[in-house]
Subunit: 186 residues, 2 copies
């Protein structure tokens, strides 16, 4: 019994499910138990059912996305940092398409509204741009990045469009600063 429930079995089951998901394989608790080399019942100590396992995989995805954004967030300039975050977000989606779709598959919808998550990494940088309406700027930024990632996964953006993506992300982020907007009638 003891070797079926090591302290890290839960994390290991999540990692195995994540791999299976990206390979398009079965992520049922029975299949995951077999891949983990534990008894068919062992996963039930940690997950009520497949849906609970997938919810944990999605949560792990948001943790990974946060780490990816923090890793990209190295520039002093806020615009450059936010553009780099956006590029990292899109690269994360391209590298983990099944996970990305699962994360935003609508069970709870989008990132949880906590400060200590991927969304918070973006918002903290956005604050440096002193937007007049932080909520609107956050929605604009997240939507632009998320839309680009979604279009990339759905084949609407070629894999080599990174220069175009950089230019588009820069346009979006620059527009969010608190300065007066340019006239719409040039």
């Amino acid at each position: 019994m003891a070797d079926e429930t090591p302290p890290d079995l839960r994390a290991r089951l999540i990692a195995i499910a994540l791999d299976a998901l990206e390979r398009g394989e079965d992520v049922g608790l029975r299949a995951i138990a077999r891949d983990a080399g534990v008894s068919a019942m062992a996963p039930y100590r940690h997950f009520r059912d497949k849906a609970a396992l997938l919810a944990a995989v999605a949560m792990r995805g948001f943790d990974d996305l946060k780490a990816v954004l923090l890793d990209a967030d190295q520039r002093a300039d806020a615009v450059a940092a936010l553009v780099a975050q956006g590029e990292a977000y899109i690269a994360f989606a391209r590298a983990n398409p099944a996970l990305f779709r699962l994360m935003f598959a609508g069970h709870d919808g989008g990132p949880p509204p906590a400060d200590d998550n991927a969304y918070g990494v973006m918002v903290r940088r956005l604050q440096q741009l002193a937007p007049v309406n932080l909520d609107a700027a956050a929605l604009a930024c997240w939507s632009g990045v998320h839309g680009m990632a979604t279009l990339a996964l759905d084949g609407g953006l070629p894999d080599d469009a990174t220069a175009l993506e950089h230019a588009a992300l820069t346009l979006i982020v620059r527009g969010l600063a608190g300065a007066a907007p340019p006239s719409s009638r040039p």
Copy 2:
């Protein structure tokens, strides 16, 4: 035979499939034939298989989306017109979630690169903003709107967030004008 293939049967089959899709019902050719009151073979005069029917439904969706954008495109001011287009795009996604997902489900990916489609309606307005890089501005605008629509469908945006969406769309569109960008270090 004649009453099984009236000139408008193709359009009628597409309309029936569209309704069935949004109701979550079977959109196989046999079910659609039954709903249309025609023989099981009649749809095969117009569609090779279910995939061909769904492709036609998606194309109909892009036509409908174009009509919706044109209908929203009534303001003289280009920023206001583009924001209204964005709001109409998001409302279209909310009103036709299954169709919207089908349209962007990655078979060919995104809107076809023609001038005479929904994308073209947006690009013609964007040109009035004289963006320095039209391709980047178009990707930024479409991504922001598409991302907001996708987040709305996936539950990341409440249905009553339209004021916030308006503010976010305005931020994105204003940022696309050809004027010099505001400083990133206020």
